[in-house]
């Protein structure tokens, strides 16, 4: 079984820069094992 999460989170995109400098950051990477309740990501003002 699989769970897919899709969500909006604070992000900042600059016109001159192709890559978005997002304010939301994932705390995990591909291949990581994670347990329920652990942070997937955090955001800052």
């Amino acid at each position: 079984s699989t769970v897919v999460l899709v969500f909006q989170a604070p992000a900042l995109k600059k016109q001159e820069d192709e890559a978005s400098s997002s304010e939301f950051k994932f705390c995990v990477e591909r291949g990581d094992k994670i347990r329920m309740g652990e942070a997937l990501g955090r955001w800052h003002d």
Binding site: S1, T2, V4, V6, K13, F24, K33, L40, G41
Partner: protein, 371 residues
């Protein structure tokens, strides 16, 4: 169970014959005579398991050396599509829900835990209190086994599992299944998803100021708008905007299979896609295109403090049904009445409209059931 009962009976018979002083070497009553077919089956299963382990090891080695998995449709994948996977799944569900004798329960559950690396110390109840394998599979955990991240600016994992993909959705609104093959988010969540509407509405405000002719097209997707008016999109991208992120988590058979709320949110809508029930393991992701879009799934959509949020629980052959705690009447993995696959998902808007069901971070939302 049949095998164990038979073994138990033959052992009893053997004991009786030994006590009775019987020394006959006849096959009748011999405690060590296991039928040849059973031995052959055990050997075959062992060989298949060993082969699978070898294949998994090769995949891990390939990934560690930086080789990306690519889609490789094969004969087995085609063969899978011809199998009655729903019937197999339902049969497995009824087998796994068979009540086990109390003496057998700890052995059966320990065997499952050993095979799939489950942590038995976390189980909320003693093993003999799980009447069937199905009950054990959906076990709750001891209090405090899964502390919830207390940071109010964090989004937590709704499940135990392995992170398959994470990232930000860009222009295509696609999620990569494997290298070179992606599936569309709107296909996963449903064509009537709030996703494009909510993403487009912010943009549409800017668009409507500059181009009145776009005002009436309220259901345009982000993708269409980006194609139709790239200049407008550039101007809107110069200011802070909310991004769309995604995370795909795979649950192995030994993992805790309850789904919790990742944030405080309002669930506004539920959508049920009665699709196929392909396996969703790593091999299947490489060999079956649109795997997540094809499979039976339940999608919850709603709003949280930062905007849109959706969670899709995707079933598989062995774990085919999804039980929603916020809607216990929902039945999934039902026998198919029509020969043709129904494309339209079944939808329910939660009351009161606009507010729906409020869930707190860490609340139990759903559970994956066997079969």
């Amino acid at each position: 169970l049949f095998f164990l009962r038979k073994l138990h009976t033959t052992t009893k018979q053997a004991g009786a014959s030994i006590n009775g002083g019987g020394s006959s070497s006849d096959s009748k009553g011999n405690p060590f005579l296991v039928p040849g077919a059973t031995v052959a089956t055990i050997l075959m299963l062992g060989a298949l398991h060993a082969r699978r382990m070898y294949s998994d090891k090769k995949i891990v080695e390939a990934r560690e050396s930086g080789i990306e998995l690519e889609i490789q449709p094969d004969v087995k994948a085609k063969f899978l599509s011809m199998l009655p996977l729903r019937s197999i799944s339902r049969f497995w569900g009824s087998v796994s829900s068979t009540e086990l004798p109390v003496w057998l329960r700890p052995y059966a559950h320990r065997a499952w835990a050993r095979a799939f690396h489950s942590n038995l110390e976390e189980a909320a109840l003693p093993l003999d209190q799980y009447a069937s394998l199905k009950d054990f599979f959906v076990r709750t955990l001891k209090e405090g086994s899964r502390p919830i991240d207390s940071d109010p600016r964090s989004l937590i994992s709704p499940v135990d599992g392995t992170v398959i993909r994470v990232g930000e959705l860009k222009e295509g609104v696609l999620i990569e299944q494997v290298k070179g093959f992606s599936y569309s988010v709107s296909s996963l969540l449903g064509a009537g998803s709030f996703l494009p509407l909510m993403a487009a509405s912010d943009i549409q405000e800017d668009i409507s100021c500059q181009e009145n002719n776009l005002r009436d097209e309220s259901r345009k997707s982000w993708w269409r708008i980006s194609l139709a008016s790239p200049k407008l999109r550039e101007s809107s991208s110069s200011r802070p905007m909310k991004g769309l992120f995604y995370c795909v988590i795979y649950l192995r058979p030994g993992d805790y299979h309850r789904i919790h709320s990742p944030v405080d949110w309002n669930v506004l809508l539920r959508r049920h896609f009665s699709g196929r029930l392909y396996p969703v393991n790593e091999r299947a992701t490489r060999t079956i295109k649109n795997l997540y879009v094809e499979n039976e799934r339940v999608v919850l959509e709603g709003r949280w403090q930062e905007g849109y949020i959706a969670m899709a629980a995707i079933g598989a052959t062995n774990i085919g049904s999804i039980e929603l705690f916020i809607e216990p009447a929902l039945k999934t993995n039902q026998p198919r009445k029509k020969l043709l696959q129904s494309e339209a998902p079944e939808e329910r808007v939660y009351e009161p409209e606009g507010t729906g069901v409020m869930l707190k971070k860490g609340d139990e939302v759903a559970v994956f059931n066997m079969g």
